[in-house]
Amino acid sequence: MADLREMNEAELRGRVQKLLAEAHPERTDSLTFRRKQYEHGLAWVHFPEGYGGLGLIPKQQLTVFDEISKHSKVVHHDPPAATIGIGMGAPTVLTYASEELKKRFLPKIFSGEEIWCQMFSEPGAGSDVAGLSTRAVRDGDEWVVNGQKVWTTVAHLSSWGMLIARTNPDVPKHDGLSYFVLDMKAPGVEVRPLYQITGEAEFNEVFFKDVRIPHSHMLGKEGQGWRVAITTLMNERVAIGGGGSKKKGGGAIAQLVKLWQSRKPGALSPAQEVLLRDRVTRSWMDNELLRITTQRARAGQKSGNPGPEGSVGKLAQAEINKKMWETALDVLGADGLAFEAGYALRQGDFNVSTPEALAKYQFLRSRANSIEGGTSEIMKNILGERVLGLPGDPRIDKNVPWKDVPRS
């Protein structure tokens, strides 16, 4: 992106005040306000002028929030369903889309009028995303898409989807991909909820049957899809950040401690109590050290010498989390046999009323932690190879036409 400048604090706050003068959050709905915010270049200050930004350094966005909340009890935050579009879609569009598409997409992404989803993973391409099979075949000015995607959040609410598809099977897997913006309402697109172990569906499956996409909706060039996708994913990383809570004993572990302290008196034998206390203590330690490790990572980045502490979080948290909720269920003991919430298949979030209900829900939900966003096996490879510098597994899928690589 073009060089970003730092605007003088007062001037920036002045611009925010102008926005507030035109549309005050306490007196305007989110949609109207966020449209205005975009027009004023206060949506993504690090975006160029005319695209919801002012070409400023990213951290000045904080000044914007600060100034808004200073003057308004109401703050129109990013609508939850819109975060993927705002966080990942917008930067990709900005970097790779045509002038026309930028103007078309960016305002509605930020306002929340149009929800975006990301369609990369496939049933046959989990850890190995670049091995994906969804095909896009050129037909005149259009591409015809057939295939299936999975693990797509908010697909059922989305107007647009970021799609990688294979446009050339005769080259090695990374080279044959292209990136599209897909109209989720187009004929042949079918979205189905994907229910999980808990009965809720946080994700969807998306099926494509002869879906047509105008060539103009390709981002980047044909065959550049992987590079474009990296841009999208880099911004995902930014969105996620380090694990662990901010304060000692905060976050999930506080729930386990509450559960432990309110355990049923007499249900545990003295010996079982000692054994479980030790496991609860281990979980407390794990969570505390995860928190501190994240702090160390921040310190390392700040002081300009980041170490491995920044890379271990995902793996550690997944395993720690699973173990913690296993302990929680054992603390519940016989009461753990009941699952009051039930398994009604449903979309949208599970609502957690009590520490007991949370423990039971998380005991099940946390099994996904060591799989979603990179399995623990893949994370160990990454740590072993990128951090410790160990050699990789012999690769048989490199420099081979995708169509010749064995697939499930």
């Binding site: 049933p123 229910y195 172990i197 049923k264 034998s269 699952f339």
Partner: protein, 372 residues
């Protein structure tokens, strides 16, 4: 004679028969259909288990209309049922209730109830656990009020296997005599039953409350010692069921690891997955040793059966849980979806670990037996 761990041709045949039947009548589709029903089992399948396979009366003596088989046959049956996640009141009625009657009840009651259990026409459930969360017999506080053959009950029992559909409840209660076994019929006055929404949909549990409810004494004298042996058999049988489930998880994980390709290779060719499978294999074989040992010892009526049952329940509970958890992990994204099977085993594994006391509970008991 000491446990020799030899399965006779008859045992192998029994296993083959049960497996063939369950592969037809308790496949995944059937399990999913049955587990979401209120009653929790397929009446027709239950009828076939009783009449065609003679499994419901497996451990009931022939004089009471059963097959008169022993603990090794029970091991084979439970292992296969665990493998198939069979949804049926087998553990509750055919094992727990039948064995409680055989061990504690008077002849008349045995005569009346055992035949009907064996024929599949009667569901009986033992009401043992109470809301205090304890599994040890000392935790039983429900009082049998009154002297003579008829008493009344006021209080609550919970986690009663299939208690919501039981025709007869066998209630473990306390009196001056010690622990007694009481009979309460389904229709009894002041009896209310509510099924408990369960973590594991494939095994139904109920909460039972008594309000001045009439009950009849069917045991004489303190049943504590008898009851300890009854619970030991239930735990040993459950351990065998856990072994069957764990073995199936290993099989499912291994098959998936052979057919699922990533980066152009079966994931099972990566040591990350391969070694996980190998570790599962070791713990499944150790778990088999634990469960087989308990039930061969039971069959030989050896003195250290209660100890062996504690060992079995302690080890198999953890082995099944880890196998089920690793099976999810090896299945990757599909592993935690509703439509794939791993979560069914995972929930059964955790529930059967908690049922009748978790691994730590049984290790504590074992340590006492061994003198540690």
């Amino acid at each position: 004679m000491p446990a020799d761990f030899v399965f006779t041709d008859e045992h192998q045949e029994l296993r083959a028969t049960v497996r063939a039947f369950l592969e037809k009548r308790s496949d995944e589709r059937a399990v999913r259909a049955t587990m979401t029903t209120e009653r929790g089992f397929d009446a027709e399948v239950w009828k076939q288990l009783a009449e065609e396979l003679g499994l419901v009366g497996l451990i009931i003596p022939e004089e009471h209309g059963g097959a008169g088989f022993g603990a090794v046959e029970l091991l084979v049956a439970m292992e296969e049922m665990g493998r198939a996640l069979l949804c049926a009141p087998f553990l509750g009625t055919a094992v727990f209730a039948a064995n409680a009657l055989l061990t504690c009840a008077d002849g008349v009651t045995q005569k009346e109830l055992l035949a009907r259990i064996a024929s599949g026409s009667l569901i009986a459930s033992v009401a043992h656990a109470e809301p205090n969360g304890r599994w040890d017999l000392a935790g039983i506080t429900l009082r049998a009020k009154g002297t003579g053959p008829n008493v009344t009950l006021d209080g609550e029992k919970t986690l009663v296997l299939d208690g919501h559909v039981a025709d007869v409840l066998l209630v473990v209660a306390r009196s001056d005599a010690g622990l007694e076994l009481l009979r309460v019929n389904a229709g009894a006055a002041g009896l209310t039953r509510a099924s408990i929404p369960a973590l594991d949909l494939t095994r139904k549990l109920a909460r039972v409350t008594f309000k001045n409810t009439p009950a009849t004494r069917i045991s004489s004298g303190d049943q504590t010692a008898n009851f300890e042996r009854v619970l030991a058999l239930v735990c040993a049988a459950l351990a065998a069921e856990q072994v069957g489930g764990a073995q199936k998880c290993l099989q499912l994980a291994t098959e998936y690891a052979k057919t699922r390709l990533q980066f152009g290779r079966p994931i099972g060719s990566y040591q990350g997955i391969k070694h996980k499978c190998a570790e599962m294999l070791v713990s499944v074989e150790m778990a088999k040793s634990a469960a087989y040992n308990a039930l061969f010892i039971a069959a030989a009526h050896e003195a250290d059966f209660v100890e062996a049952a504690a060992l079995a329940k302690a080890y198999c509970s953890e082995a099944y849980f880890h196998a089920a958890a690793d099976n999810i992990q090896i299945h990757g994204g599909m592993g935690f979806t509703w439509e794939a099977s791993p979560h069914l085993y995972f929930k059964r594994a955790k529930a059967s670990e908690l049922l009748f006391g978790d691994a730590a509970h049984h290790r504590e008991a074992l340590a006492k037996h061994v003198g540690l």
